[in-house]
């Protein structure tokens, strides 16, 4: 009889586990915990506050962009321009303050406005003109990057005399946690909650799930697209501004390749390139997983050149595992 009880308990707990694992977030979270355990055994430095805050600072910019990328992926789109828009925003701040000696806050506002313009351009081309997102944002990727090179003439600006209030955003800390990371966490919480619960944002999932049906349900799909691409570009711009504040240097080649890193992270976190799926939490967990693994490679003195190779392998492994497990469930 005892055996029966224990099997039923085991069954129930395995059912519970299965239900939890049905959410992609949970499996990514478990992977993160596993990586953390392994790394803390392998390296005494991993679980130190210094290492964890540095790592968090390292991915905060990508993380903010990932919020935008998540909503783009949910509607079934893609934005390749995020890294370039980030760089454009950075050199705008750097250029206006160092060449034209403009007030830093005015420069920041200009950079935000410029990012917004990039987003409007994407959103208009994709929503109204009905260009495919891949083409429109591929163009934007090149144009914004080109703009950044034109402004800087190719060489980075080093900024001096930056007011402490601006420095505080990227280099200060609140209760021992870097401000940048605090801002990042607050943004995640707000964005995740809004995406799960806000009524107008539900339209993003409808649009991504079946665009025609969304249109025939009276949802203004063009407006949804405009909103999504504008938000994504704005977040990229903001990530750029915070990065300027962190490093005090603006280089036109900043954010190179971040579009692919961010898309990988979102997909690991459960977003689908065909739309309709994805959460901010999942994408952020994807970012954390990738960065912890890279951090582990560094701590174990593996050459940095291995990082891309490992990230790619993880992306393929996670998505394959998910696909195979779903296929099993279906049959």
């Amino acid at each position: 009889m005892d055996e029966n009880v224990s099997t039923s308990v085991r069954q129930r707990s395995s059912q519970l586990l299965r239900r939890i694992f049905a959410f992609r977030e949970a499996s990514v979270l478990v992977s993160i915990i596993a990586v953390m355990l392994i790394l803390s055994i392998l390296s005494p430095y991993f679980m130190t506050k210094a290492n964890l805050t540095t790592t968090a600072l390292g991915f905060a910019a990508d993380g903010i962009i990932a919020i935008g990328m998540t909503i783009v992926l949910i509607i079934g789109g893609i934005d390749l321009g995020v890294g370039s828009v980030m760089a454009l925003s950075m050199v705008t701040v750097g250029g206006l303050t160092t060449i034209y000696h403009l007030n830093i806050w005015l420069a920041v506002v200009t950079a935000v406005a410029l990012s917004l313009l990039c987003g409007l351009f994407n959103g208009f081309l994709i929503g109204r003109v009905k260009l495919t997102p891949l083409i429109a944002t591929l163009g934007m990727m090149s144009m914004a990057r080109g703009g950044a090179y034109v402004i800087t003439k190719g060489s980075p600006f080093s900024m001096s005399g930056v007011p402490p209030a601006f420095r505080f955003l990227g280099s200060g800390s609140i209760f021992g946690i870097p401000t940048f990371v605090v801002i990042f966490i607050v943004m995640i919480i707000i964005a995740d909650y809004l995406l799960r619960r806000s009524a107008p944002l539900r339209n993003l999932y409808y649009t991504g799930s079946n665009e025609k049906a969304a249109e025939l349900s009276g949802i203004n799909v063009a407006r949804v697209k405009l909103f999504v691409y504008v938000t994504c570009a704005l977040l990229s711009g903001i990530a750029g501004i915070l990065t300027v504040s962190r490093f005090n240097v603006t280089a036109p080649n900043s954010g190179m390749g971040s579009e692919l890193r961010v898309i990988s992270a979102c997909v690991i976190g459960g977003a689908s390139l065909t739309g309709g799926e994805g959460t901010v939490l999942g994408s952020i967990l994807g970012i954390i997983l990738l960065n912890f693994i890279n951090n582990g490679l560094v701590l174990m003195r593996v050459s940095v050149y291995w990082q891309d190779l490992v990230s790619g392998a993880i992306l393929i492994a996670v998505v394959t595992l998910d696909l195979v497990s779903h296929r099993k469930k279906a049959s």
């Binding site: 619960r197 539900r202 409808y206 049906a213 009276g218 949802i219 309709g276």
Partner: protein, 508 residues
């Protein structure tokens, strides 16, 4: 067209198939003779598709065996079944839209010269052979995406025949083609039959089955009910076997009282699509729109609702002139259009039942800016109850529901917007007899409650049984209007093919 040859082409013996949680097929056995058109009927979810998928090698049976042309067969995949001579034309057409007709028919088996180059001349000859046989009104070099659904259907059949098949499975072949095209299709079926091939014919439409099939096998809840000669039974008997109960009065009674005009449309016009469209809709009536595919019925309704732009329109809604230039405004006003294509345009298949029902009027379920989950669940529960939608949970994804239940979810989505004028395009396409009759009753009930109902249908019996008044369209214009006892098949067909106006033109 009885065949003296009694040779058995296909024999299915005690086939059983289990899916997790359900017994999809339970010891089903039947035989198809050579040169026979054999119908398989049953409500959605009865197990027809599973059975066909087993015969065509897509699924393997758990128990039982299949004997094809005298030998036992066990197909591991559709390719093996194809090679053995079983062709399957699916309800959803699977052609490559950007390629030519010939390239589609001989997909994967293009004739080629000694080297790797395609032998274009030979390809065209081979294609023309089939097109001639079917008296097709299109050419081998036409690109598939420019053809109508019916023409594409013919290509699918040709594709199966080009494989030299002995048994052809046709799944709902008439679900998206017009009555005229159906006649062409039946001609083709008879021709195939004469050549000694057998056909398994799956359809919901009784009149077709009795027109073209020799035998009928009825399946209900995974069990074989009976196999009969069509000559020996009536359609009522077959329907009764399918549903396991009597369906009295296939159609609800006609209107009990028609009152004020609720919607008036004048001079609707869209260049090259339709012109001079004027009609009015009264409270308490169901207005039917009939026409052949391409007559412009759907286009008129979409323009009326502001989904598509048009060149000229005057719309009076409850006595007030309205613009209706954006569909959202039209929905808020209470004029809604329910699409004919629930899967690709009506539903969010990967989303839950409750998410689907709240999609068109998110206002219903919000508190401040948030989605109120209690309200969402209550709204869903209300329409699930009202429409008798069979679901396991409100969180169930819509793609796991049967066609009839999916249709009801889509209707639920629109009822949740509290419509004043409900325009429904092909309300019962591809759904089972039981759900069909429930949807007809529901439309009548709405109309009795004062909602203006417009029904577009390509099924004559549905238009005749349901509508109080029928407007017939032909090539973008209204050619006739019928009401009361004049709503008869002959009259509708005359208007739909525009015999009247063309004979008048000849007289002038």
């Amino acid at each position: 067209m009885n065949n003296d040859n009694n040779e058995v082409m296909l024999k299915v013996e005690n086939i059983t198939k289990r899916f997790p949680g359900t017994l999809a097929l339970n010891e089903v056995s039947f035989e198809v003779k050579r040169g026979e058109v054999h119908a398989v009927v049953g409500e959605n979810g009865a197990g027809k598709s599973t059975l066909m998928n087993i015969i065509s090698g897509l699924l393997e049976p758990d128990e039982g065996r299949i004997v094809f042309m005298g030998g036992e067969v066990r197909f591991l995949n559709p390719r093996e079944a194809q090679d053995a001579g079983i062709g399957f034309v699916h309800q959803e057409l699977s052609l490559c839209p950007h390629l030519k007709v010939s390239e589609n028919i001989f997909m994967g088996r293009l004739p080629h010269l000694k080297n790797t180059f395609v032998n274009r001349k030979r390809l065209k000859e081979m294609t023309d052979y089939f097109l001639e046989k079917f008296q097709a009104d299109f050419a081998a070099d036409d690109v598939v995406k420019n053809l109508t659904v019916a023409q594409q259907q013919i290509i699918e059949i040709a594709k199966a025949l080009a494989l030299d098949c002995k048994l052809l499975i046709l799944d709902e072949p008439t679900s998206s083609i017009t009555e005229n095209e159906t006649k062409v299709l039946f001609g083709i079926i008879n021709e195939i039959k004469r050549q000694g091939m057998s056909i398994l014919y799956i359809s919901h439409r009784m009149e077709e089955i009795f027109q073209v099939c020799d035998s009928v096998t009825v399946i209900r809840d995974g069990c074989l009910i009976n196999t009969l000669r069509t000559a020996g039974v009536t359609s009522d008997q077959v329907v009764r076997m399918m549903v396991g109960r009597n369906i009295e009065n296939m159609y609800p009674p006609k209107s009990s009282g028609i009152s004020d005009v609720i919607l008036k449309v004048e001079g609707l016009k869209s260049k090259d699509v339709f012109k001079d469209i004027s009609f009015s809709l009264r409270k308490g009536e169901i207005l039917g729109f009939y026409g052949l595919v391409g007559a412009g019925r759907t286009e008129v309704m979409r323009a009326l609702c502001g989904i598509d732009p048009c060149d000229n329109k005057v719309i009076e809604f409850r006595g007030d002139r309205v613009e209706n230039n954006a569909y959202r405004r039209s929905i808020d006003r209470g004029i809604v259009y329910i699409t004919e294509d629930r899967k690709s345009q009506g539903l969010f298949l990967k989303m839950s039942v409750e998410n689907n029902i709240s999609a068109a009027m998110i206002e219903n379920i919000r508190t401040d800016f948030r989605i109120d989950r209690d309200k969402e669940s209550a709204l869903c529960g209300r329409y699930v109850g009202e429409l008798g939608i069979k679901i396991a949970s409100e969180k169930q994804k819509v793609d796991s529901l049967s066609g009839g239940n999916q249709q009801k979810v889509m209707i639920g989505k629109w009822l949740a917007t509290y419509p004043k004028v409900l325009i429904m395009d092909e309300p019962t396409r591809g759904i089972d007899v039981g759900s069909k009759s429930e949807i007809h009753k529901m439309l009548r009930k709405l109309s009795e409650e004062g909602v203006g109902v417009i029904v577009i249908s390509s099924e004559l019996p549905e238009i005749i049984g349901l509508a109080d008044r029928v407007i017939v369209m032909h090539e973008g214009t209204i050619t006739g209007e019928l009401s009361g006892d004049d709503i008869k098949e002959e009259n509708i067909i005359i208007y739909a093919s525009n015999f009247k106006t063309s004979s008048r033109a000849a007289n002038e």
